[in-house]
C-alpha cells in the first residue's frame, strides 16, 4: 500500500507555481498572437481572390491537421537548420502555439462571419460602408458574440496542449512536475497535485466563461434576431 506523502510537493510548491506561471504565459501570448492572426487568415480564406484564399486555406488546414508536437519539434529543431536562428524553447513554444491556434481561430472566425446573414452585409453596403467598415462595425460585433463558446473551448484546448512544450525543456508546469517527480521520487503526489492545478485553472476558466456567456446573452437583445 502506498504511503501518501505530499510534504515534498508542498515544500516545492513555488517550483510548481513558476511552471504554472510559464504555462499561463505561453497560453496568453499564443492567444494574443493567435487570435489576430486567425482573423487575418479567416479573412484571407474568405477573400474573392483565389490565390489568397487558396494559400490561407492551405496554411489553416496544414496546421489543423499536423500534430502539434511535430510542429513544435519542427520549429525548435528543424527551422534553425534552414535559417540561422537559434530559438529558445520559449520563443519556439510561443511561435508554434500562436500559429497552431491561429489556424483553429481562423476557422472559428470564418464560421462566425459566415453565420451572419447576407442581408447584414447588404444593409451596410447600402448606406455606403466599405468592406472594412462593414466588417468592423456590423459583421464582427455580431459574429464574435456567436463565436464566444467556441473561442473558450479552443482556448482551453490550447492550454492543455501546451503541456507538450515540456518536451523542448521549457519550464512549464508539466516540465516542472517531471523534474520534481524525479527529484523527490514522489510521482504519484506530484502528478496528482499538478492534475488538480490544471483542473482548477481550467475549471475556473470555464466557470468564469459560463458567466461571461450568460452576461452577454442578457445584455444582447442583440445576438440573434
Amino acid at each position: 500500500m502506498h504511503q501518501w506523502d505530499f510534504s515534498p510537493v508542498f515544500s516545492n510548491l513555488d517550483f510548481l507555481l513558476l511552471g504554472l506561471y510559464h504555462t499561463f504565459l505561453v497560453t496568453a501570448l499564443a492567444l494574443s498572437f493567435g487570435i489576430p492572426i486567425g482573423l487575418a487568415l479567416a479573412l484571407c480564406r474568405l477573400s474573392r481572390f483565389r490565390l489568397v484564399s487558396g494559400v490561407a486555406t492551405f496554411i489553416i488546414e496544414f496546421f489543423r491537421t499536423t500534430p502539434p508536437l511535430v510542429q513544435l519539434f519542427w520549429f525548435f529543431f528543424a527551422l534553425p537548420i534552414l535559417i540561422d536562428v537559434r530559438m529558445t524553447p520559449f520563443v519556439a513554444s510561443v511561435a508554434t502555439f500562436s500559429i497552431q491556434s491561429s489556424a483553429f481561430f481562423a476557422e472559428i472566425f470564418r464560421g462566425g462571419i459566415n453565420s451572419i446573414e447576407r442581408g447584414q452585409w447588404e444593409a451596410a453596403k447600402a448606406i455606403g460602408m466599405s468592406y472594412r467598415q462593414s466588417l468592423r462595425r456590423i459583421i464582427l460585433p455580431q459574429a464574435v458574440k456567436r463565436m464566444i463558446p467556441a473561442f473558450l473551448e479552443r482556448s482551453i484546448e490550447l492550454l492543455k496542449t501546451t503541456t507538450l512544450i515540456s518536451t523542448v525543456s521549457y519550464a512549464d508546469l508539466m516540465f516542472q512536475a517531471n523534474e520534481l517527480a524525479q527529484k523527490t521520487f514522489r510521482p504519484l503526489e506530484v502528478y496528482t497535485v499538478v492534475a488538480l492545478m490544471y483542473f482548477f485553472l481550467i475549471f475556473g476558466f470555464s466557470y468564469a466563461s459560463i458567466h461571461v456567456e450568460r452576461f452577454l446573452a442578457k445584455s444582447g437583445e442583440s445576438t440573434m434576431r
Binding site: K125, G128, E221, S222
Partner: protein, 259 residues
C-alpha cells in the same frame, strides 16, 4: 418640376453567367418623381434596383446620377472604383424586403451608424438627425429599443429612417411590405407616401397595386428584363396595352380601383 434626371440608366444589361436578366433598360427618373416598377417574379425588378446603386455591377450600359456618369470608361469598358461606389450609395438610399436592421444596435444607433461611420459626422449631429428621421417615420419613442423588440412594421420604418439619415437624393424600395403581416403594411406605406408628398425622388418595387395607383407618377411594367409598358398609373393600371401586363393585373384580383 425640374427636368434634371436624378437617376438615368442607358442600355443597361445584366447577365448572371448565361442568364440575361436585364436586356437593355433605358430609364430616366426626374427630381421629385415617384416611379413604381411592376412585373412578375423573376422579371428583373430587384436586379434593376440593385444595378442603380451598384449592389450589382451592370454587365453593359451606363448609369448616371444627377447627370454624372458613374464610373469611368476605359477602352470601351466601364471601370468602377469601390470608393466612388461607396460614395454613390450614400446618395442612393435603399430599403429591403427583410429590413436588415443591425440587431446589435438600438433603433437610434441604426439610424446614426451611417452618419458617424460613413459620413464622419459628430455623434451629436448624427443623434439629432437620427431622432429627426425617426420622428419622420413616427418612431421617436422607440429610439432606444433593439430591433428584436420591434414589430415588422416598426422595423421597416426604422430601416427607412436609416436610409433617410444619409440625406439621399433618391430612395429605392424593394418590396418593402412583402414580408409584413397584412395589418402592418399600412403604416409602412403611409411613411413612403409621406415621403412622396415631401417631394422625395423614389423608385418603388411593390405588389400593392392600390398603393402604386395613388403614389406613382409613372408606372413601369417590366417583363423578361425589358420595360414593355410605361405611363401614368391611371393608364397602365386601368387599361394596359400589352397582354403580359393585362395578365399580371388580372392575377392581382385583390386590386380594386378606388372610385
Amino acid at each position: 418640376m425640374s427636368a434634371e434626371a436624378v437617376v438615368e440608366v442607358r442600355g443597361l444589361v445584366k447577365r448572371f453567367g448565361d442568364l440575361e436578366v436585364l436586356k437593355g433598360i433605358d430609364l430616366k427618373v426626374r427630381e421629385g418623381e415617384t416611379v413604381v416598377l411592376l412585373g412578375v417574379s423573376g422579371s428583373g425588378k430587384s436586379t434593376l434596383l440593385r444595378c442603380i446603386n451598384f449592389m450589382e455591377t451592370p454587365t453593359e450600359g451606363r448609369v448616371f446620377e444627377s447627370g454624372k456618369l458613374v464610373g469611368t470608361e476605359k477602352n470601351g469598358r466601364m471601370v468602377y472604383r469601390e470608393r466612388e461606389l461607396c460614395a454613390l450609395r450614400t446618395r442612393i438610399g435603399m430599403v429591403f424586403q427583410h429590413f436588415n436592421l443591425f440587431p446589435h444596435m438600438t433603433a437610434l444607433q441604426n439610424v446614426m451608424e451611417g452618419q458617424t461611420t460613413v459620413l464622419r459626422e459628430s455623434r451629436e449631429a448624427a443623434e439629432k438627425n437620427a431622432i429627426e428621421q425617426l420622428r419622420r417615420v413616427g418612431l421617436e419613442d422607440k429610439a432606444f429599443e433593439y430591433p428584436a423588440r420591434l414589430s415588422g412594421g416598426q422595423k421597416q420604418r426604422v430601416a427607412i429612417a436609416r436610409a433617410l439619415s444619409m440625406n439621399p437624393r433618391v430612395m429605392l424600395f424593394d418590396e418593402v411590405t412583402s414580408a409584413l403581416d397584412p395589418e402592418l403594411v399600412g403604416e409602412v406605406l403611409k411613411a413612403i407616401r409621406q415621403l412622396a408628398d415631401e417631394g422625395m425622388t423614389m423608385i418603388i418595387v411593390t405588389h400593392e397595386l392600390g398603393f402604386a395607383y395613388h403614389v406613382a407618377d409613372r408606372v413601369l411594367f417590366l417583363d423578361g428584363g425589358e420595360i414593355i409598358e410605361q405611363g401614368p398609373p391611371a393608364e397602365i393600371l386601368v387599361k394596359p396595352e400589352t397582354r403580359r401586363a393585362k395578365e399580371f393585373l388580372e392575377g392581382h384580383s385583390l386590386f380594386k380601383l378606388p372610385d
